[in-house]
Symmetry: D2
């Protein structure tokens, strides 16, 4: 299962809301973007305090922690570590003291020039206590801040130095600040609840707290919220056409109920299914999705093909937690613990099974075998994304070529390894059709190798 790096949420209160509890609810809605650690920083009359820990939002925060986080502004973060080590020291937000006082920062994305930025900083004596890109950005802002009168100007200067994906939330003693990288690689949107502004990685977080959606933050834009209201700095803003939003946000990362750049994620996923039905049709009795992420595409495939949609696999709802694998002797796979087949439903049937992607191929092979064991006559695997052929440097854990099955085998070889009767992928040339309502350009580097920033050759 591929993993997203992070999600962010922030609020500047003008209504007397409990900012920590709203941030908690917002992070809860963004939990799918990171389950490893989480944190909330609040600004109470210009003093920033912080609680963070390892685990889910509901594990790290209880009434006691939330009671102690009173304030008028808050930023929060959920994290899955792609770059940067694990452990609570790397959890975010990070709160630092610098020449102008406290600064809290949380960030979703990955800097592709982090190594050289860090080296340059170390060459002037900088020390690093975490392995996060956030800390690199904080160093750069602290240094730019020496040259300028405002933290947002320092931020704008920093944005010219860094490359990669970043949706950032910051909190200074007096301001809530957000920015999105100039290519808009990760989503970030702004909403309003009462008179209070809210900023979140996805619209589902706005819905959860009943905030009204205003708009997506523009690629390269800086938003500042303070006592005087909301302002924007557009020095680094680029056009939507130049933008390179990660197409995999639609295919897998984002929640289906989120709307990114005007396009419903669920509808985009249904579109992938429809395209698959057009490009890889098959004569079958039932279309099923691998839960949860293959369900939406399966519904699209069924609608387009006219083959009935059904449920052939059941997911154990309790898998989010740590689970101890039985020992070798018992030969129980992780997939088996998590997913079970509806035998009576699939037995004797020709099945189309839709999943969002194939990385190493082991999960797919397991599922095909389970369906066949249950009596399925044929299993036709359809994948709602193109073949993964290139690693990602922008905040997901798509691995290096050595670990990508599609770099080593043909589709026919993959079909054979998986044991499916046929195997079809979303054609890369139809990728842009999945989000017709979006005016945004896309990053599809993991499928095409067409990277938006220069990549050190040894890293691919």
């Amino acid at each position: 299962m591929l993993k997203e790096e992070c999600g962010v949420f922030g609020i500047y209160d003008k209504d007397g809301f409990d900012v920590a509890r709203l941030t908690y609810a917002g992070l809860f809605a963004l939990q799918h973007r990171g389950q490893e650690s989480c944190g909330i920083a609040v600004n109470n009359n210009r003093i920033i305090s912080l609680h963070k820990g390892l685990g889910h939002v509901s594990d790290v925060f209880h009434d006691r922690e939330l009671e102690e986080l009173k304030g008028q502004m808050a930023i929060g973060h959920v994290r899955y570590a792609t770059s940067g080590g694990k452990g609570v020291l790397n959890a975010q937000p990070i709160v630092s003291m610098y020449i102008k006082g406290q600064l809290a920062m949380a960030h979703n994305g990955n800097l592709s020039n982090a190594v050289s930025l860090k080296h340059d900083l170390e060459m002037t004596g900088a020390i690093f206590q975490t392995t996060t890109d956030t800390e690199i950005m904080m160093h750069l802002i602290a240094r730019e801040r020496l040259k300028t009168g405002r933290v947002e100007t320092a931020l704008a200067s920093m944005m010219k130095m860094i490359e990669g994906s970043y949706s950032v939330l910051m909190m200074s003693p007096q301001k809530l600040i957000a920015c999105r990288d100039p290519l808009g690689m990760r989503p970030l949107c702004i909403g309003k609840i009462g008179n209070s502004y809210v900023i979140a990685s996805e619209t589902c977080a706005l819905d959860t707290i009943r905030a009204e959606y205003i708009r997506d933050i523009d690629p390269g834009e800086i938003i500042i919220v303070d006592k005087d209201g909301i302002r924007t700095i557009r020095d680094n803003v680029r056009s939507r056409q130049e933008a390179r939003l990660c197409i995999f946000e639609y295919i897998y990362f984002a929640r289906p109920d989120s709307i990114i750049e005007g396009m419903s994620v669920h509808e985009a996923r249904k579109n992938t299914g429809m395209i698959l039905a057009q490009n890889s049709p098959v004569d079958a009795d039932l279309v099923i999705g691998v839960p949860d992420s293959g369900i939406d595409a399966a519904i699209g495939y069924a609608q387009e093909s006219g083959i009935p949609y059904g449920k052939g696999l059941v997911i154990n709802r309790y898998v989010g937690r740590t689970f101890i694998q039985p020992t070798q002797k018992e030969r129980i796979t992780a997939v088996q613990l998590k997913i079970n087949v509806l035998k009576d439903t699939v037995a004797g049937k020709k099945i189309v099974m839709i999943d969002d992607s194939i990385v190493r191929g082991t999960t797919s092979a397991n599922l095909v075998a389970m369906l066949k064991d249950a009596g399925a006559k044929e299993v036709h695997m359809r994948i709602s994304s193109p073949l993964f052929k290139w690693p990602c440097f922008y905040g997901t854990d798509i691995p290096s070529k050595n670990d990508l099955i599609a770099c080593k085998y043909t589709v026919e070889e993959m079909r054979d390894m998986i044991g499916a009767d046929s195997l079809g992928f979303l054609p890369v040339e139809r990728l842009k059709e999945i989000a017709p309502k979006s005016k945004c350009g896309f990053c599809d580097a993991c499928f095409t190798g067409n990277y938006p920033y220069k990549v050190p050759s040894e890293d691919i």
Copy 2:
């Protein structure tokens, strides 16, 4: 959301399996039957030891706990407290010393004559340290054991004294024993992995550990597994026709991938949707299910009606854990934290929304409002069970009449309160059609008041 009382799992090993880890995996598969507490007792060379605690299986058991639970037999339990207080003292299995040594017991169900049994025991000096029915049964077995040479004979005698639902697992120093109440009100099945017998509440637990399903335990049957193999005591066995399996196991409690009395739970749920489509048809654009329990019936409704099946609601996968409600000020409902609407999918459409039941009606009202807010033109609510009119005394938390909306209002009044454009229930007279492959009689007392055992009038 209605809640099931419990799930049980047991194994008698002949293959050198790690019985605690298999029980752990089995309980993990049965987690939907009880999330409040869990426990595993193992029998290691005739010495029984126990670990239990509050929380999910993956919270209570870690490598350390499992390492200390070595043995050749194990029984496990997951619990949601319907009767009996909360707290770890009421967690199961319960391990007692009696005249013949240690006895471990775990049980799913509810005794309807518990009060009088307890009173009779107290009148002879019995003391009770828990509020579980399990402890009552242990007292009765201990007393019957004085009259007979075998624990299974004592169990058979006890079964003649107690009324209500019970699927019981017991472990004596030398035997694993299971029994199901004479009306077979709760499910219980037997399987085999290698040469080792496994007993579980549902077949999904057998699937998860790759055990082969053998058969359902007969209503009233006692199964004994020991070093000499497997035996059965059939003194209390009644015919399948006389049996009164809880019909709500099919409608809501059991996992859709389980097969009970020969009938797939998923298929039974699809059947409820098909019947609803026949009895409560409507002109609409999309059929959606309330996740997770309304999905299966929605697929059936869609297939029968020809209206496309779609996804209109998204559930937050992380709701299983404790979640702290934001304060009043923020006006966020529990439903909202858990479920969000796919706006672009439902906007402008006539929607059929299927849920498994209506207890108080508040959740339904919330969901209808959310769909309408998102722009749905019409919302037609269909419920895949009949009207709840009577409380349950057999192990579910269907409440007293005062809390049942269907006892106080007509369907039309309910429709109005919920805000739906139409409202339809599964007709009680077609209930038996949902599980055509089952030869079993059903308990439908919650819909009909037709209780299998005498109920003290004041309790209804």
Copy 3:
């Protein structure tokens, strides 16, 4: 280090005190009597609720737990398991339901006829969920209760059936009840704070909550506190002369600031030192005590002998907690982690070192070696108790003869094994002189084999 079994504390409030917090403070003062588990039960308007857990009082109880324990009566318990297994199920108080409602019980001591009582109960069908004597007593009371109108009468009847040491606290819906066994083997006293009665194992618990000491409960006496005040049942009371208070309470178990049967524990310990100085004099430069329990006797020895008292050993104050032993490679003993020598103080000196007892002799050998390593010229070991020659059946963990060094070796052999220059014990014939203010008879069975109750021969 020998260990005491338990301590008890109870209060019946008439002043509006927070009974749980006073019980918490009382148990904190009694923590030395048991560090393995603890619990508090409160009676709030006739409903009894309970919290207990493994660990020290300050580990198990925090503000949250204490807040939930509101009431007008409370009993509490600290426990070290001598008989009965470990684990929270064996923690006390135990709360049971019986024919007359709830009953909470906590107890310090050990029944010497527990095995036969348990067997008799099992022969009538009783089941046991713990391995505590408390549960046996609850069974007996429940059965006696059927014959009599009052719980205290049932208690009085039960006292005629049981043998051994027991200081018991009970709480029925309306009464706080205490009793002490007819030989008064364990201490139990009564005090008053405002108009509220308090009962505790030792007077130090009264001091800690500023309660006024009233008197020791008489051997065999039952005290009942209810809304009408305080009453006593004296059916089983025996004279002080007949009583057999555990002499080791003075020597080691009790806190030095407690006063038992009119005699200060500290002064009794000083007396042991004085007697040792008379019976085992030696020419030396410094008298030191093994902390903490040898300090008091060392002060007495110094005063009587005229040899200066000093500090030669320092104890690490943090040893109460679990400590992980370094591995073999590092050759660090438990004694070394806990105790260190004051080198400059002992170097070149002839030392008298006083400890309370010798069980296996390893600790003494370690300490003598440490002193000699530090340059002590001579080490004369003095023990403030006679030789342990018999196991204890009344609530301490003095082990069987096989583990008692004094059963296998002469004093001269022991001296040689320990490496001391001389070794002296408190003469058994002067034991009674250590507590001259007490009018009480003593149990000295561990020194003399003179057991107050019949002991099954195979147990010695």
Copy 4:
């Protein structure tokens, strides 16, 4: 109770010891120097890993944590926060990445020019994630490291910039490095176990792990241990006469079994008692010490005066843990929960009571009252240190003048407030006599205002 800031322990293994377990044992011996948080960093083949947490050593480290800390070098830290906030982010060691790779650091002491150092660093863009002096030192070393080829040279340069007390342990990929500030304000010693060097705050840590004491590190000295053995850098070394060791280490902070600069701490404390007996004699029946820190001086007073030494107060051994204060209603003081009087021992007697210091006077007043309540005829209070008149800037929490009773009242007024019959302090002019074996100069600024470094006037 005054509190020390920190303790440090480090080891460079050449014998195959388990460095984490030895560090654990060493920190356990130093637990009295800091109970708030602790941590251990190990260097395993040049990779440094870290575990730290809030609480005692035995709370933070268990077998699992220690198993994961394998390596050939380790440094550890126990902390009580005097400067720097609480919380795990401020726990030590701190591990940073800088231009030359990883660096771990732990430190005991307090920089008196921290504010200006931090300001200067911020003016060049530095950011701070903790509020510790350790982080300031890491910044300075990272910057000095740019100018020099070796980390120890950078350390030597840094030592010229900082003022205050510091005993530092560092670990680079290849070296274990220690240094002590040029005035030697905090203790630091070196020992050897097998062929492995050990460095610790106090000798008691060497004793606990059976390491042989070699010598105290010289004021200003840097010690480097690596694969080639041990080296020293003496650029900043000053003579012992110039040194300013904190005299309060002898009076209160250090463990009595430690030897600092050749002088036994216990003997130094006994000397304070002897001096008090000479300067503030009184006719009395018994000398007692306030446990634990007044015991040693009381023994000295008794020996010098000829008045018998005794035990008049008992401390509850379990106070190290968090304890919840009963509510107002119960009027129980913290002192009472912790200390109780031996009534029979003090009643009717004239008592000399020795304590180590008076800060606010409340504890003393409480103790005097408790003794008088118990019947003491007279209570003569003797304090084994001079009057606190000045705050400390070097790592202890002696408060500002406003909170020091001795700044506001005469000795006679204090005696009256405390309720003692007489009150005597150690004469400041005899301070140097308490440690005659030490050739070291002392810092006695808290008594004299004679600060070794310039103090910003507003801070006093």
